[in-house]
Subunit: 245 residues, 2 copies
């Protein structure tokens, strides 16, 4: 990619990384709202004004953290999808069963990352920060998880097809437009269901993480796994055999 030209540039990269690292640490301790540039600088043994050589404002630091967080949660999702790209050991289970397992595995990986990095998750999927509107740099990384979900749906569709009821007229055109850019091979009904499932997935995670399930849902792993499976069913990833009775 970009090559390091000299000692100055190398130092700049290292200091930038150290600032983000320390900021992430303080973020995990006290949350985004209490994250202060001065405290980060103090902890790094530099004076606050020096930090402005690396990030022009507090919002720019937060933006960098947001991009990193999107990348990290996207990488977790991609890794989970990659791990199940081919049938592992057990030979039983149809290809469609495999894609459903992939789907729930991706959902579980996203949730796992969120539980492990609650404040970074809140940074990207909680309320947008003060008067802050996402700059263009974030939209790429922000779509990584969505792209993984699309890829799983595409693999399943290439396998044996995803059947969904057709959509109301207005939505059908909309779904065709969305699908045209992201997944031209998928039926509009699947595209529409995918977008909804994508949002709903983060609804489940956010409610768990932000305390709405407090004293309500206890068996959270099982609850989430089941709900993720239902989301998969909603986009057409059905279990191969429907158990009779």
């Amino acid at each position: 990619m970009t090559t390091v030209r000299g000692a100055r540039e190398r130092a700049r990269i290292e200091v930038t990384a150290a600032i983000k690292e320390e900021a992430r640490r303080r973020l995990a301790d006290e949350g985004a709202a209490k994250l202060s540039l001065r405290a980060v600088a103090r902890e790094l043994g530099m004076v606050s004004s020096a930090l402005y050589r690396y990030f022009p404002s507090r919002d720019d630091l937060l933006t960098a953290l947001i991009i990193d967080a999107y990348d990290a949660i996207g990488a977790a999702a991609e890794q989970a999808a990659e791990d199940l790209r081919t049938e592992p050991a057990a030979p039983e289970g149809s290809p469609r069963g495999l894609q459903l397992r992939r789907w729930t595995a991706v959902c579980a990986a996203v949730r796992r990352w969120a539980l492990a990095h609650p404040h970074e998750y809140a940074l990207i999927y909680g309320s947008p920060v003060p008067g802050y509107s996402a700059p263009a740099d974030t939209i790429g990384p922000a779509s990584r998880v969505g792209r993984v979900l699309i890829a799983v749906a595409q693999d399943a569709h290439r396998g044996e097809g995803l059947a969904r009821p057709r959509l109301p007229g207005a939505l059908s055109a909309e779904a065709r437009r969305i699908g045209g850019e992201l997944a031209p091979d998928l039926p509009p009904a699947v595209v529409s269901a995918l977008v909804a499932a994508w949002a709903q997935l983060f609804g489940l995670i956010s409610f768990e993480l932000f305390g709405q399930f407090h004293r309500l849902v206890e068996e959270r792993d099982a609850f989430f796994a089941h709900a993720a499976g239902r989301l998969g069913a909603e986009i057409g990833l059905l279990e191969p055999v429907a158990p009779p009775d």
Copy 2:
């Protein structure tokens, strides 16, 4: 309820209301993170220290706003459910169809309130504020929307029943526990689906409100209506007639 005893108490109530009103105004302008007690006090023509007679800290002011917001969005949901308690004009449509319409109407009302009060919505369903853990006063108001969703499901179940596939073992006991407190008459599978649908509903709303649908979903009313209908189907609120082919 509580009666006003004298001029002092009446003044206190009025000033408290004025502070919250002004705080809400500034909240809508600049978001929760930039809401400052001093600015509120300044706008009200009082000195900042005087404001502490009414709210011991900034977090307490935010807590009051949170409770009000939960109450407002809960009231919006309750109103929508009440409006459709009995079949309006059109006589066609089975009772189950009515409950599905009630369900989507409640979802739409919640979304409408969120779109009209984005910052207040972010306050309650966005990231929890700085190191702030919800005090006990909020859990009552926080559950109003959920209770409305439960009530619609209960009315539908009393009508002609809600059929849901049974749950995996671990979840069945969990759903029975949850249902025991909130809706003893509902089958565990419905309870479980309700909790998931509740979280997923706010996933849809949050993604729209927090900009994740930017340049992705354009026909948002139609998209949401359809997704809310699918959520209703997920708890067993099926359309009376399944269109063949």
